[in-house]
């Protein structure tokens, strides 16, 4: 069926309050960024032992979400599955915004953000053997592709959109596997070093992306009083389950390899050290075990609530997965020699949750949510109710 799309009216109290709150958070972003820039990154929780903190965690998380969102959108435009059409535009739009958010995170994390243009001097000022440099090519292309993709969708050019969509999906896979390669190719960090990392990242992206789509779709449609087809949610949940299972296999193989001799100290630290809870509670518990249970158990898998809870669990769990990579990965003291190193060079690092870094992260997240809400307001992202005229009246919290 041919769907018609519309904006939200943006007149309701709920909408206005949300915009105001998010606006304040964006102001916080400018403030906390200025503080970090002027005082130096000592106001964050990072150190020479753990050089990447919250911001890089969010960066890889958001890229994952973005790639996942685009791949889900392809179900509608590339694979032409009608069930997924209502969320198609939203998925692509989310893909763009999440990518922009990721870019914000990585640019703000730089010690000298004003030199960020150096990241885009391909082959001239860039060292192309660096995964960062290769990724910056991928990221710019990715954003441009997504913009074209969305524009084509708005134009209604389904055929071209399908072609660009295909390229975009493949490009999204490259983007996120490239992000995984940033970590996977670093030989001296045992927790990072693995050829499976790009695949792990990709699958984590798919699970988190799918889950985010589920949650966003459910929330947005509810608050804008649009009806969402149950079939849509349940198809997504089935896809989610399969991907989580594959992710489980990836994680298992990766960790099993690392537990074998030699070089298992860092992985043991991941399992039993200061940050064991990031791995066991978040990555495994919330990210894999709980959703699998919820999506397999007959009572919960057929309710919308059960699916949404499992999606929420995955979203939090995959964030924990990113953190379980970035922080314990560098917290483990490097074995310069294979004996006990005394003092500061032999003990694991501690990452502190600090005010400015947290504010910075949360404010960038709010900024992206704000852009999303504004996008809903000014762009025709959401579909109209099927069989109902454009302006719906009654029972709407947000119009």
């Amino acid at each position: 069926m041919e769907l018609k799309y519309s904006t939200i009216e943006g007149k309701s109290k709920g909408y206005k309050t949300l915009v105001v709150i998010l606006g304040i958070m964006v102001a916080m972003f400018i403030f906390s960024f200025l503080i970090s820039y002027l005082k130096g990154q000592k106001v964050w929780g990072i150190s020479n032992m753990i050089p990447w903190g919250q911001l890089i965690t969010f960066y890889i998380y958001f890229i994952g979400l973005s790639a996942g969102a685009i791949i889900i959108s392809s179900l509608s435009y590339v694979f032409k599955k009608e069930t997924f059409e209502p969320i198609g535009r939203m998925a692509v739009f989310m893909g763009i915004l999440l990518m922009v958010g990721a870019m914000f995170f990585v640019l703000v994390d730089l010690g000298r953000p004003e030199k960020a243009w150096r990241l885009f001097m391909y082959f001239y000022f860039n060292n192309m053997s660096s995964m960062f440099a290769i990724n910056s090519i991928f990221y710019t292309g990715y954003i441009i592709l997504m913009l074209i993709y969305l524009w084509l969708i708005f134009e209604g050019n389904k055929k071209l959109a399908a072609i660009v969509g295909t390229i975009d999906v493949l490009w999204a896979i490259a983007v996120h596997m490239g992000t995984g390669a940033i970590f996977g190719l670093i030989g001296n960090r045992e927790i990072f070093f693995s050829p499976i990392k790009p695949f792990e990242f990709l699958l984590a992206a798919l699970t988190s992306g799918t889950s985010l789509i589920i949650i966003t779709a459910a929330a947005t449609f509810k608050f804008t009083s649009r009806m969402i087809e149950e079939e849509l949610i349940f198809s997504l949940s089935k896809i989610l389950k399969i991907i989580i299972l594959i992710l489980l296999i990836m994680v298992f193989v990766d960790k099993l390899t690392h537990i074998y001799f030699p070089n298992r100290d860092a992985t043991l630290y991941l399992f039993t050290g200061d940050y064991w809870w990031l791995f066991w509670v978040f990555q495994i518990g919330l990210g894999i075990v709980l959703p699998l249970i919820l999506l397999s158990y007959s009572k919960t898998k057929r309710t919308k609530k059960g699916v949404i809870i499992s999606a929420l669990s995955v979203v939090i769990g995959v964030f924990g997965e990113r953190a379980a990579l970035v922080i314990p990965g560098t917290a483990h003291p490097q074995p310069f020699v294979s004996a006990k190193i005394e003092g500061i060079w032999g003990e694991p690092g501690i990452f502190k949750i600090t005010l400015w870094e947290t504010l910075l992260s949360l404010s960038i997240v709010s900024f992206i949510i704000l852009l999303f809400v504004l996008g809903l307001r000014f762009l025709e992202i959401l579909p109209n109710q099927t069989n109902e005229p454009v302006s719906a009246k009654t029972n709407s919290i947000i119009k």
């Binding site: 005082k39 130096g40 990154q41 000592k42 990072i46 150190s47 020479n48 032992m49 753990i50 050089p51 990447w52 990585v106 994390d109 730089l110 010690g111 000298r112 953000p113 030199k115 960020a116 150096r118 990241l119 000022f125 860039n126 060292n127 053997s129 660096s130 995964m131 960062f132 440099a133 910056s136 940033i182 670093i186 030989g187 001296n188 960090r189 990072f192 560098t330 490097q334 074995p335 310069f336 020699v337 004996a339 006990k340 190193i341 005394e342 003092g343 500061i344 060079w345 032999g346 690092g349 501690i350 502190k352």
Partner: protein, 228 residues
Amino acid sequence: MSRWGMVIDLDKCVGCQACIVACKMENNVPHGSPEEQKLKREVNWHKMITVTKGKYPYVRTELIPMPCMHCDHPPCVTVCPAKATFRRRDGIIVQYYRRCIGCKYCIVACPYGARSFNFTSQEEKPYHRKDEPLDNNSWEPWPFPTRTQGVVEKCTFCFHRIDKGLKKGKKIGTEVVPACVEACPSHARFFGDLDDPKSEVSKLLASRNSFRLREELGTKPKVIYLTR
């Protein structure tokens, strides 16, 4: 072309840490504070690790000084996106502060913990040297007087001494050496051209048993330790 390397004789080393202090003095490296050390934010171009083995009374402690290894296959050079760290033709791994964007990828990639990030701007001290660069028009990665906040810094094998010395026709390794080599009171450190069979370092490597740190990673570090 010379390939500069350093040899540290752990048998002669007396663990005095003169190398560490002399490096700070030579290169205006900022000192830390108790908080910074706890949080592991101190800037250390040269450090010393203490390794213990055994149980009382059969105990053994090794004190190993660790500057930047100036690897021949440097992982930090591979991962720097902005070409801010690169290998000079003479083997010294240079950090170009102008280009450094502070992404900290090199700190993650360095297997020896040789790199430090500037988490805050460096205080200027009255005893900081304010030397001029070799050539006022050059875009050399000149590290003086200090580096700005937000960039990564590390040991430079005192290339400023080497370049100046070469220009004046001095012999590197005997007349001109990095500050840590000069400071070592027990003459436990040597510097020179690893590719020159007649240099002191080559002769030492030929005469004694030596090892490098984390050799299995294949970084080919050019700081080599003679065993006790």
